[in-house]
């Protein structure tokens, strides 16, 4: 005999530990089954795009740090590449290598956070999260050596980076990369073959590649559905054309596939960093102030540059009217666009899978709301 149930609407968030920020979901349940989901966001809106219109091009770097605050270096890189394209600045080689190293380290840190919190949402209270955070801590220490800050780096400048890496950075990087591989091995040993993780993540929140492409979702989510799309490979920016790496693909497109792709990408990032360290050449880290002054006045026009961020295609669109500040800045925030399919992923699923799915999308509210 079936139990008679009645749909119930529940507000999850905005102040909820599992929503990774201030995010609200109005969910309608019928028993354990999710009937309808309405994402509500905007609680963290700070108007970064508008603020950028009254700041000079170098000052905006500090705003980009605060968009996706677990991958500041990648935001910096995307923004600086857009400025370089807009103003026609030729970056110096050592600066480019350094910012590639920094941004790949940031990608590792971001994926570790995503994996750790996904498992936290699964109910693995503490252990995987702490192992992941321990590794991220090493990376943040390296950032502190590079630029003096751990989260809000502001390390990049038009044409390169502001300061060369100190001597103690290179041995620390060497040790850190070994530690990352060790942690990932450990993580895989106790999670990738774990029946509890399997039973909770395999086959949940499956979404087809067609749906993902139609919603213009990119990044690990798309690669977990078997679509080979990585901007580092398809449209190489910086010196990614001199680097060889594998694109890890999974075909299941469920929560487990998204977790697996992220873990494998950490390994690839470590390989990329090792190749960068081999190929880095001595020289200045930023162009001289005669070539690139502190106050850049790009010619009137516009530029859009997209990079492969930790969560997908991260693009910056800048419009210049010839002044010292951009006329308009727009950010293609990958988190916001990845959020659009959340409803389709959740409907028909179980209540217990809600936060697992939410964690596997890897949202960052700072980037969604900007």
């Amino acid at each position: 005999m079936a139990i008679r149930t009645q749909p119930v609407t529940v507000n999850l968030g905005p102040q909820h530990p599992s929503t990774h920020g201030v995010f609200r979901m109005r969910v309608m349940f019928d028993g354990e089954e999710i009937v309808d989901v309405e994402p509500i966001f905007g609680y963290l809106h700070r108007g970064s795009e508008k603020l950028a219109e009254e700041r000079t091009y170098t000052q905006i770097v500090t705003l980009t740090d605060r968009m996706d605050y677990v991958s500041s270096m990648l935001n910096n890189q995307a923004y600086i590449l857009a400025v370089e394209k807009l103003a026609g600045i030729e970056p110096v080689p050592r600066g480019v290598w350094l910012r590639m190293i920094a941004s790949e380290l940031q990608r590792v840190a971001s994926h570790l956070v995503a994996t750790g919190f996904l498992l936290q949402d699964l109910g693995a209270l503490g252990t995987p999260l702490i192992y992941a955070m321990r590794e991220r801590e090493n990376i943040l220490d390296m950032f502190e050596m590079l630029c003096g800050a751990r989260i809000t780096n502001s390390y990049l400048r038009p044409g390169g980076v502001f300061m060369d890496a100190p001597d103690e950075f290179w041995p620390a990087l060497d040790r850190g990369l070994d530690d990352i591989i060790q942690t990932i091995d450990e993580l895989e040993e106790y999670l990738s073959g774990n029946e509890l993780v399997f039973s909770r993540t395999k086959g949940t929140a499956v979404i087809t590649p067609e749906q993902l492409i139609n919603a213009s979702i990119t990044g690990p989510m798309l690669r977990a559905s078997g679509v080979d799309w990585d901007l580092r490979h398809r449209a190489p920016y910086d010196y990614y054309d001199r680097i060889t790496f594998e694109r890890k693909l999974h075909t299941a497109s469920d929560n487990y596939a998204r977790y697996w792709v992220r873990v494998q990408e950490v390994r690839e990032s470590v390989k990329i960093i090792r190749q960068c360290v081999e190929q880095i050449e001595p020289g200045p880290v930023r162009p001289s102030f005669d070539d690139v002054p502190r106050l850049i006045r790009p010619p009137a026009g516009d530029a859009y540059v997209a990079i492969e961020g930790s969560k997908g295609e991260l693009g910056f669109y800048l419009v210049s009217d010839g002044g010292i500040a951009p006329y308009r800045m727009h950010v293609r925030a990958s988190s916001l666009i990845n959020l659009t399919l959340l409803r389709d992923m959740l409907i028909g699923g179980q209540f217990g899978d809600l936060f697992v799915t939410f964690g596997s999308v890897d949202l960052n509210m700072g980037e969604v709301d900007r």
Binding site: A149, S154, P166, Y190, R294
Partner: protein, 221 residues
Amino acid sequence: MIGLGLPRGFLVTLKNFMRPAVTEQYPDRHVGLIGAARDAGMNPFQFLVKKPGDSLKAIAGLATVPVAVKQSSRFRGNEFTFFEDRCTACASCAKYCPLGIIEIVSIPGKIDAQEGESYKLEVFDIDIGRCMFCGLCVEACPYDALHMGTSFERSKYVRDELIITKEELNAAPKRPSSFYRPQFEENAFDPFKETIDDYHDAGRHERPSDEDLKKKWVDER
């Protein structure tokens, strides 16, 4: 094989029990009798005899010693180091600040002062409460007068106390961070152990003497 994943996972957790802890205690950590005695600078038996009260506390696990947090020398702390003798009141830092929180008022050192002659710095206020410590002002300073500091414990009860003035900056111990100051890294300057007392040591280059300045800016015209 089904059923093997869980024990394998617990083996990893067990292995991590054996690893040394990575937890950092802050602002102080608990010590036993030996640690407390070492902190007081004597051996445990002396400590037991001379300070029975403290020893009891240490044995009970209530004694603490302060610990320093591991910081890089480039750390951008919540303070600034300022050398007034190096400052020419050019206001580059104020112009470069994204938030406009640096207030500078300068007056000419004398009537009809020429360019290059010294300007007197009247007001130099930084509103730390609104500062995000991006370091752009330090990057902009052409005379290496303003540096990032390394300390970060600056919480106050009243917001007005977060505006640091020129006098406060001058009186503070000079422990500049090597953020955007490669000369400190070349000299292996450690801001957590030493201070810079002479303003000549703080710059990338010597400040030209007054005669040289006069020759360059006044006599040659």
